[in-house]
């Protein structure tokens, strides 16, 4: 495998960092993870100092020499200021909500300051990372600048590539504060696992039918299922119940919110089964199943999931839905 030099470098660097800096869900910036080096502007500043020194020396002008030493001292002092601007900052990951593969995972990070320090002009973005031979672009830079609040929470979008547990790339935190002469930075591996569900893909009708019909005698399409919801009676509406069940006609007449109650006439229910898709790649099966689960859940239907080594009993509701998607996301890859 012939990688370009740049790719090799990036790969070497990320391996090195992976060994040296393990993932943690909380990092405090201190001297063992902060780096500091003059920026390009700092180089120019040194050049300016050189020029002033030449001017002062050649004209034997003590005042210009004095200014030149002042600038040098400012550079020295700003090393400290730059370092202490980041020092003590604490980054921790918050629980991030799950996403479907290909969507942007919003990684929520919490920044806490140490004591009452002010941290200014801190740039945070994802470090460019090598992933399966491709170098990922670093994400959008976000600026952190706060004085009064003790914590700041920020969302960092990152593209998810594959199903399963996703770990965000390393995070770069850097700052040129106060004068831009120096760059203080650190690269952190944040432990912020995001569950990535399979990308939902609609399978063709036949396969769906076969999957749904597994436990019932007559094959039943999900579409026909909805039609057979039967209007049963009215109940007073309570807050928190789905709005789409409100009987608006009755509301118009009586100004009281009623809820339409449906009874599911069908005695049977759907089962999503791994084995309903014979001869199809395992990833694709998961994607079909995922699509099915979304669809059934939207219809508030009762369904179960059967995967090799994992069975989820019949149920409905949000929690069940999450459980199913979770199982699909964490299904082992090589089965």
């Amino acid at each position: 495998m012939h990688l370009s030099i740049k790719q090799r470098l990036v790969s070497y660097k990320s391996n090195f960092l992976a060994q040296r800096r393990p993932r943690k869900n909380q990092h405090r910036l201190k001297q063992n993870n902060l780096f500091i080096f003059p920026s390009i502007l700092g180089g120019c500043y040194l050049l300016l100092i050189m020029l002033l020194w030449l001017l002062g020396t050649n004209y034997d002008n003590n005042l210009i020499l004095g200014l030149c030493y002042l600038l040098l001292s400012i550079m020295l002092v700003s090393i400290l200021h730059c370092y202490f601007n980041l020092q003590g900052l604490q980054v921790s990951s918050c629980k991030s909500s799950a996403v479907f593969c290909g969507e942007l995972a919003m990684i929520k990070l919490k920044f806490e300051r140490a004591s009452l320090k002010t941290h200014s002009s801190i740039e945070v973005n994802w470090h460019s990372q090598e992933h399966n031979g491709t170098v990922q672009e670093p994400g959008q830079v976000q600026i952190l600048d706060w004085q009064n609040r003790s914590t700041v929470e920020m969302l960092f979008p990152v593209v998810t590539i594959s199903r399963g547990i996703f770990q965000p790339p390393r995070l770069t935190i850097k700052s040129y504060y106060p004068l831009g002469l120096l760059r203080c930075w650190c690269v952190l591996a944040i432990d912020s696992p995001v569950i990535v569900y399979p990308k939902p893909i609609a399978g063709n009708a036949h396969q769906i039918a076969s999957s749904v019909s597994n436990s019932s005698a007559k094959p039943r399409d999900t579409q026909t299922h909805t039609a057979e919801r039967e209007y049963q009676d009215l109940q007073t509406y309570r807050e928190g119940e789905p709005v789409n069940q409100i009987a608006w006609k009755h509301y118009a007449r009586t100004e009281v919110l009623y809820k339409k109650n449906y009874a599911y006439l069908t005695g049977d229910h759907c089962s999503l089964n791994w084995h309903s898709y014979p001869g199809i790649a395992s990833e694709l099966r998961l994607q079909y199943l995922c699509h099915q689960a979304i669809k059934l859940s939207a219809l508030r239907q009762v369904f179960s999931l059967e995967l090799p080594g994992c069975t989820i009993a019949m149920a409905s509701g949000e929690e069940h839905y999450r459980k199913v998607l979770h199982a699909l996301a964490l299904f082992p890859e090589n089965v």
Binding site: S39, I40, L41, C44, Y45, L48, L51, L52, L54, L55, T57, N58, Y59, D60, N61, N62, L63, I64, L65, G66, L67, Y69, L70, L71, L72, S73, I74, L76, V77, S78, L80, H81, F84, Q87, G88, A114, S115, L116, K117, S120, S121, E123, V141, I143, D145, Q147, Y176, Y177, P178, L179, G180
Partner: protein, 695 residues
């Protein structure tokens, strides 16, 4: 650098333009005025472009402006290879760059250019005030730098916060910079650079016309400052700062060289080294008193130095450009275009037993008509010549003759600063026989004339007389108002002897110094003098001068030699490790407060005794597996604890009452600072806590 803030905020541009204008302002002394106008126009244009009122100038237009302004600069500054043109070019670049101020890169470039322009003003003026001003400019420029570093997304920045940050950085950097200034060795010029030579000539000139010194009588600007070694200080009457000797007289003006030589460049006939040594040996006589002193001379634009006669260039002075003439005046090979410090030794009361050569005798007794080339003997100042001859006849002894002349002055002459106009042709006659009032140069000039007429060699010496001691008497300040002229006469067996006819007329001029005398003379003359009389103003003038003097002595004049001696004095040696240690010490002195500031908040103040008791309680009940929750009051906590451990119920209820009343009760709010009481209560509470039974 990368992707940060490519666009600039309007406020940034305003700040930067302010900083640049501030940096350019003092340079207007040296540069043509239109450069400021150009800067303002460019800035205005930029602002209009940002407001979308004007378009970016076309490339050609920009080029044309560049060429035209370069041409104008070349015309305004005659010498293209001078310092002015270099600074002018720099300033021009900065002001033209403003129009292109679009990106962060341009902005930063301008900040750096501004630093350079601001620093270059120190090439022209190096007073304390200008240096302070430059520091101010650097401050604003660094403020710009700080602003540039903030992302434009963060628009709501508090100027106070930025100001504070830059201020803190400057205050921390200053001590380090000072040490660097003190210890980093100077290398000296690496290559030849054009110096700033256009300096106006001030102070005493190389010719003396009646009335010329009077012009200086109210100029209180410093002429020189003198620090005497050890505690020896000559009396006021001995402080004759001799600068230039004027042997030639053309009837109106005393000058340094003969009128027929005026085509040649002015110059003192300088002596070679062996002759100088011989001269020095005359001066160094056992009888004479030696004074060592250091003079800081203000810019004069001339070459001669002012010293007490008879001076010898101090052997420790490293400046080889100083040379001495036969008449003991000292000169430098180049004009004094910046403040100059020199070290000399003076031997007062010397006698020269040599003979005056015939040629010299001829020069020093020369009177105008005797040199008239056309043979026209229409002599001027006939009465004065007659007076000379008359005195000679009466007193064959030179000293008696001089005494008679002085007595004459003392009798009917008066000292004034407003002598009125004298007849131009026979000025000396007019003064001696008609007006009979004048000041030093009138007396000196006429005395020398009469003495020459009497056949005694005489010449005029010009310089300063007296001076004011600084408030702590550490140095002597000589101002232009102290300018003075006197006569030197040749007495056989004694050599050149100083004769100050002004002492005969107004001895207080010499004893009190010019300032008080002039004040006495002009009580109702002018505002300046009256102001000068006010002691407060005078005090201020003196203390301000002291600041300036120390500034020039220690900062501007700080050189390798001074550095060496100072470091040696401070550290006891100039080894590398000592200097390293000093730098380390100062850096840590700056660092330590910062580190303390950073780490201090973590260490909390020692909590009050009651709070310590509470922490003990927390630990104790943790043994019962009861943990205090946030937002839980003491009573609630203890109730919960009682449920867990019935045994301790009684203790808990007592503790609850005690703690509540100690923390919140009436006594707690009234006697919060009564340490002994709270301590007593906390002891009781601690005892109770100990009683809690934990299994």
């Amino acid at each position: 650098m990368n992707n940060r803030g490519a666009k600039l905020r309007p406020a940034d541009i305003n700040w930067l333009a302010t900083a640049l204008l501030l940096a350019m302002l003092p340079l207007l002394n040296e540069l043509p005025w239109w450069m400021l106008t150009l800067t303002v126009v460019m800035y205005g244009w930029r602002v209009q472009i940002n407001r979308k009122k004007l378009l970016n100038p076309h490339k050609l237009l920009k080029f044309a402006v560049l060429i035209i302004s370069m041409g104008l600069l070349a015309v305004s500054i005659q010498n293209i290879f001078s310092l002015q043109s270099f600074v002018g070019l720099l300033t021009l670049t900065a002001s033209l760059k403003i129009i292109e101020l679009e990106q962060r890169r341009d902005y930063l470039l301008l900040v750096f250019l501004g630093c350079f322009v601001s620093a270059s003003q120190l090439l022209f003026d190096n007073s304390v005030l200008v240096f302070g001003y430059t520091l101010g400019c650097f401050f604003v420029l660094h403020l710009c730098l700080l602003r540039a570093n903030f992302s434009p997304l963060v628009s709501a920045l508090l100027p106070a916060r930025e100001l504070r940050k830059v201020m803190v950085i400057f205050l921390q950097a200053l001590p380090i910079a000072m040490v660097l200034f003190l210890v980093v060795p100077r290398i000296g010029g690496l290559w030849q650079v054009p110096l700033n030579t256009d300096v106006a000539k001030t102070g005493v000139s190389d010719s003396l016309t009646m009335g010329s010194i009077g012009l200086l009588s109210q100029d209180y600007s410093p002429a020189m400052r003198v620090t005497f070694a050890a505690q020896q200080k000559p009396s006021n009457a001995e402080l004759y700062w001799r600068g230039v000797v004027l042997p030639y007289f053309d009837g109106r003006t005393w000058s340094r060289q003969a009128p027929q030589d005026s085509a040649q460049p002015a110059g003192i006939k300088l002596l070679a080294k062996p002759q100088q040594l011989q001269l020095n040996s005359f001066a160094k006589q056992a009888t004479s008193t030696k004074y060592s002193y250091q003079v800081m001379l203000e810019v004069t634009g001339r070459r001669w130095l002012y010293v007490l006669n008879t001076a010898v260039i101090a052997p420790q002075s490293s400046d080889w450009s100083l040379t001495q003439a036969a008449n003991y005046s000292i000169a430098r090979s180049t004009p004094i275009v910046e403040r100059y410090q020199y070290q000399v030794d003076s031997y007062l009361d010397y006698t020269d037993t040599r003979e005056l050569s015939a040629a010299q005798y001829q020069i020093y007794t020369q009177l105008p008509d005797s040199l008239d080339a056309s043979g026209n003997t229409a002599a001027t100042n006939i009465k004065s010549r007659a007076l000379g001859r008359q005195l000679r006849a009466k007193y064959p002894e030179s000293q008696a003759l001089i005494a008679a002349l002085m007595a004459r002055f003392n009798q009917d002459f008066s000292y004034t600063l407003n002598p009125g106009k004298l007849e131009s042709k026979n000025a000396i006659d007019d003064f001696l026989f008609t007006t009979k009032q004048g000041y030093c140069e009138h007396f000196a000039s006429s005395s020398a004339f009469v003495l020459r007429a009497a056949g005694i060699p005489a010449r005029i010496a010009a310089g300063y007389q007296g001076g004011q001691w600084s408030s702590d008497s550490s140095y002597l300040l000589v101002t232009q108002a102290d300018a003075h002229a006197w006569v030197e006469v040749w007495l056989a067996g004694k050599g050149w002897v100083r004769l100050d006819p002004t002492t005969a007329v107004a001895p207080e001029r010499i004893e009190l110094g010019s300032t008080s005398l002039i004040a006495a003379l002009n009580t109702n003359m002018g505002f300046v003098v009256q102001l000068n009389q006010l002691s407060l103003v005078r005090e201020f003038r003196l203390s301000w001068d002291k600041v300036n003097y120390q500034w020039h002595r220690w900062v501007i004049g700080y050189d390798n030699q001074l550095q060496f001696s100072l470091v040696k004095k401070l550290l006891g040696g100039v080894d590398a490790w000592r200097i390293g240690l000093l730098i380390l010490l100062v850096v840590s002195a700056v660092l330590l407060p910062i580190l303390l500031m950073v780490y201090w908040p973590r260490r909390k103040a020692r909590p009050a005794p009651l709070l310590i008791s509470l922490q003990k309680l927390d630990k104790k009940i943790a043994g019962l597996k009861v943990y205090r929750r946030k937002g839980e009051t003491l009573a609630a906590l203890l109730d919960r604890a009682s449920l867990v451990s019935q045994v301790n119920k009684g203790i808990f209820s007592m503790l609850g009452d005690k703690l509540n009343s100690a923390l919140y009760g009436v006594a707690a709010s009234q006697l919060t600072d009564e340490v002994s009481r709270t301590r007593k209560v906390s002891l009781e509470i601690d005892a109770l806590i100990k009683k809690i039974k934990v299994n």
